[in-house]
Subunit: 267 residues, 2 copies
């Protein structure tokens, strides 16, 4: 799995890429099955919704599950990431965001670097966010909205919003969102389960609430160049890992072989 | 303006019709200009958002504005309505729903007849809801979501939700929404400003919050057969008007001639 020159150019222009059905239905089934187990764990790394007891976000997953431990080293995610951000990348954050049917909350307009910079002392917006859809994501169940090209203006003015949702978030000022959307429009990142997204640390994005009857679970891996590592350690490890060992990709069938091994041990 | 036999058949099957750009840009401009005036009025018929002072819904508009007084008698709305629900229709409710940029709240899953029956004592689900988009409505700024065919199962189980939003609403149970959406899917009613919708009193629908930087204002006229009139008067007049005089359509250019008259009086 290598990005084409055309894809790399598009990433530079838009600030994101959609890779439809990068993972197979069998691989997605394996990831979903692993979720049941990690959601059942009683840990602060399982963050729950403000108005219900549902897991909204489960973090640090590569340390809690062999399946997700392999996914963060999967070449279909890592090879494109290394093309865009260099070979020496560490695992900054690993999570699944659940946007539950009927109740899933919105994420305000933001870009990840505001948090990485202000909370963790990361100096430059070089991290990449790699998503894998664990459910079909449509216009109805809370897809990410990207503002194409918004990364090219550099980090936008942001302020800390502690009121809107369950978690504090560095959000982009409304006037700036209006201006960026007038220029770049909005893009809804939709696709079938197994679809992947890549987007950069300065890309302005948001996602609406999920009023549909369909869950929307997305796996997210943030990788960051080792040379651009965190300099502040005020957030918990599962929000920004301290282990700066460069990630070494596994083989392309690393999930399939795990499924085989599981099937064998179950017989 | 007459519906074709194919449109009437589709209405029977899906429970709604979309009529793209039924009103011209000039007519929409006239309606928008009239909104400024009615929003500025200090009246209980201007209902404001829970978390801000913005007008969420402005009601009883045909009694407060000559422009909207003409719109409720416009043949492009009334002729199709008479084809579907008979010639003797009264004005049940006239409003503009604003779903403001960034802040606009969702509407939970519901159908209008639950309210008309339980609050106003309307006996049968024969009313029609006629919408005109006053802004472009896209997937991003809070369009109505319809469940096609949901009206054919008859009125769904509903319960009164007083917690979710600024207003109490008879909402459809989640299990029922899941089942209806599994059968009929969801349809987002989008279109350019001037587009009209027609949907029936039993059609299950909802709309998400508006996190986009674009307002979403929609005019709504509910008409009901005189023979199916309200039997209970507990809600204010502007929520269900008592005047059962059958509506008589005006000429197709009734908005244009008003614009001309306004232009002349301004010179």
């Amino acid at each position: 799995m290598r990005l084409s020159p055309e894809q790399i150019e598009r990433y530079g222009r838009d600030g994101f890429l959609v890779l439809p059905e990068l993972f197979s239905a069998e691989e997605v089934a394996l990831l979903r099955a692993a979720l049941v187990e990690v959601f059942a764990q009683d840990t602060p790394a399982n963050i729950r919704e403000k108005d219900s007891d549902e897991v909204r976000t489960a973090m640090g997953l590569h340390l809690r599950s062999e399946v997700f431990g392999r996914l963060v080293r999967h070449p279909r995610l890592l090879e494109p990431a290394r093309q865009l951000a260099g070979d020496s990348l560490y695992v900054q954050q690993v999570k699944v965001n659940v946007k539950a049917a009927f109740d899933g909350e919105p994420w305000q307009w933001h870009y990840d670097f505001a948090t990485h910079h202000k909370e963790d002392g990361v100096s430059r917006p070089l991290a990449l966010n790699l998503h894998v859809f664990l459910d079909d994501v449509s216009e109805f169940n809370g897809p990410l909205y990207f503002i194409p090209g918004s990364h090219r203006q550099g980090p936008a003015p942001a302020s800390l919003d502690v009121a809107s949702t369950s978690y504090p978030l560095w959000v982009v000022n409304r006037e700036k969102v209006r201006q960026l959307a007038a220029e770049g429009g909005l893009f809804a990142a939709t696709g079938l389960a197994g679809t992947a997204l890549i987007f950069g640390d300065s890309l302005v994005h948001a996602s609406p609430s999920n009023i549909s009857p369909w869950d929307r679970r997305i796996f997210s891996l943030i990788v960051n160049p080792v040379a651009n590592a965190l300099t502040r350690r005020q957030r918990p490890d599962y929000k920004h890992h301290r282990d700066l060992t460069p990630i070494v990709p596994l083989a392309d069938d690393c999930l399939a072989t795990l499924a085989d091994a599981t099937a064998i041990s179950a017989t």
